[in-house]
Assembly symmetry: C2
Homo-oligomer: 423 residues x 2
């Protein structure tokens, strides 16, 4: 019987690991609670009606269809017995199951964190899944519809105010995208409101937007955001969120549509293992990405706190797709070596892939070590990178067409407000 590798999570990390094990003499079981792999870097496009959910998601089964050594299970993991080497899970019909492993790769990702204020989630949803994205899309589009019907000027103003909390890449990309939706795509669509009156406010707790980027690049992005009509508030912590708006410092901002782009917290893997975790709940792994003391257990991607030896600031690797993918492939190669009985195992070394962020249409910033790019050329680079990494030929082509259409017409294709029939 071949060794059994269980992978939890079909995101960038888990999928890369499964694919890298394609020709290895192992049996793989990949477990995910959803049926699709999601290209999260473009999720903000679904939330702002630029792309359809199916453009950026593909069934995990379909992706791994021709890989004979993988079985895909749609189930939710509820616990891990690390000493017994067993996974506990529950399937869609609420039946409890368990599964033994020889090797385990945990790639369960992260979730948004409200820093102890989970009651804010209702008013300021975050953006992690397709359901989140379509929910936010509905809120944004309904805000314009309601503003069109609203005669009270104060209320109309609040309906046309969009607040984004957190100015990392997601917050910045959302802000740029909402600005263009309001100022371009909807320009001629309403009678009573002028969508150009839309206010988009980006709130950041730190001193500047895009903290992970070089300061000069971030400044250029900020300038572009201002051109698009986005207001930025820095050094400001949100102290309260309710249905009518947010409180920042001693200022109350009335808004009907708030979106949480701030903190993330790792999946509960740390609890399952009773492991040492960091402030964000990430499992502290050793240099081989092992759960310390368990050579057969690996934790990768957003769920892992991995500090590289050459890290200048002692910070763990960021929760981005290239890290998860490299970790997935590395762990796969390690398992292969272990199966073959090799003893000398080289520690994980991340190859820096650079960072990208886009601001509205045809503007982006790119940073790779000392190399920097700004503007239209950077945007083309951003486009090529995203298209290249989109899983599946068809999605790439369709997304290109959607974008070409949006680029030349300023239109948005997925402006649907769906609701229950009987609602």
């Amino acid at each position: 019987m071949q060794p059994h590798v269980v992978i939890i999570g079909g995101g960038f990390g888990g999928l890369s690991a499964a694919r890298a094990l394609a020709c290895s003499p192992v049996r793989i079981t990949l477990i995910d609670r959803s049926n699709h792999h999601l290209f999260q870097p473009l999720l903000y496009q679904v939330a702002t009606a630029g792309l359809s959910p199916a453009n950026i998601a593909a069934p995990i089964r379909a992706i791994l269809r021709y890989q004979d050594n993988v079985e895909v299970l749609m189930a939710e993991v509820t616990g891990i017995l690390k000493h017994e080497r067993k996974i506990q899970m529950r399937d869609r019909q609420k039946k409890d199951l368990s599964l033994s492993y020889d090797y385990l790769i945990v790639a369960t990702g992260s979730w948004y964190s409200y820093f102890g204020h989970n009651e804010w989630a209702e008013f300021a949803p975050g953006l992690k899944s397709i359901v989140d994205a379509t929910k936010i899309r509905k809120r944004i589009l309904l805000a314009f519809e309601s503003a069109e019907m609203e005669t009270d000027l104060q209320k109309r103003k609040s309906l046309l105010t969009f607040v984004l909390i957190g100015a990392g890449p997601t917050g910045v990309e959302m802000a740029g995208s909402i600005a263009e939706l309001a100022h371009q795509a909807l320009k001629f669509d309403f009678t009573h409101i002028d969508p150009r009156d839309t206010k988009i406010i980006l709130i950041e707790a730190g001193p500047r937007i895009l903290a992970n980027f070089n300061a000069k690049l971030a400044d250029r992005a900020a300038k572009k955001l201002r051109e698009l009509g986005v207001e930025m508030i820095h050094n400001a912590r949100v102290s309260h969120v309710d249905a009518e708006g947010v409180v920042v410092g001693d200022q109350r901002i009335a808004s009907n549509t708030m979106i949480w782009c701030a903190g993330v917290v790792a999946s509960p893997a740390g609890k399952w293992f009773e492991a040492v975790v960091d402030r964000s709940g990430r499992v502290k792994v050793d240099e081989w990405l092992n759960l310390p003391g368990f050579d057969e257990v690996f934790v990768i991607g957003d769920t892992a706190n991995c500090i590289q030896n050459n890290s200048k600031d002692g910070e763990p690797l960021p929760g981005v797709a290239p890290v998860a993918m490299q970790e997935g492939r590395y762990v796969a190669s390690l398992i292969m070596k272990k199966v073959q009985g090799e003893k000398s195992l080289i520690p994980f070394q991340y190859q820096e892939k650079g960072s990208l962020a886009t601001v509205g249409r045809s503007f982006a910033i790119v940073e790779l070590k000392k190399f920097r790019l700004v503007g239209w050329v950077a945007w083309v680079a951003w486009l090529l990178v995203h298209i290249y990494y989109l899983i599946g030929f068809r999605n790439r082509m369709l997304v290109l067409i959607e974008w070409a259409w949006a680029y030349f017409t300023f239109q948005r294709g997925a402006r649907l407000i769906t609701m229950e029939s009987q609602e």
Copy 2:
């Protein structure tokens, strides 16, 4: 002040009327409770993961963007005061509003009817809106996922049994599409089940499928369905539906996924008017599509019971898109003439456009008076007609690409099971 035309409903009828009035000296208000026009003839493709919702829906505002005499309102009509010439409606924020009209076009469509058994709706949803379609898509895809995890053979069989109630065009097209999904698109995706074991059962109360078509054509379609592995039960009325299956005659069919494709009932317009309605709730209109006694009120599309003078069987016009579109344009021309003070008004005369139905991939039947077409050529005709009528250049192109992709690869692009994040 120009006369005020109010149109209720942004479906085929309402939208055709609004567009036909583009150059008329009238003010138009189009009211719809959703923000999009839906191309219903392709809704079954969304329900079977072939197309994305945004492929077959377009925002009404965007469609009418360049027509200056139209205002679009997203609101739900709650009543009509026919003597006062007033609409009562409720907007998204639950505020009650009213609106006066000089001319009124009611194009509020139809809904599915469970013949007095509304409790069946929960177990056998119908297909009218995008939310219905994504709900059915989720059920179908989850049935395969659950069957993959199921070890009890009886339960697995029930999970792989799909029951379609009603063998009109929707039931037939759904049956063909599910058959191809199971037998082609999912062929290599599962480990424990063989999707080819899928049972698809089409139940029809009448003596044959596609009752509206010529019997020979319907026979050819039935033959094709049998080839695709669809079982047909004729002359059989469903007497009970619950979570575990249906009862047909004295036979119980165990199934986890049932879809209602049987009866429709008109919108409540008849009640608003306290008008004479037929068995399906359709308002009986006169030869000018007027609500009898009210020259300024028109009822069109699925909401109207319109019997043509030359109708051989005395049957009202069917609830299909060409009827609604012709009625919409006719009513628009009538309003134009009335505004100009013309007295001699020609009654509505429907121009037969023929019927089409498709069965799976590359097979269709087409019937136009004595002219009939079957097979691949008919399917190309079906394709061209649907592409032609899809609103908006972009949708046409994208749908073509989706179909080309599906045709050559046997794949489905929109196989997403979306669920609440915290679910």
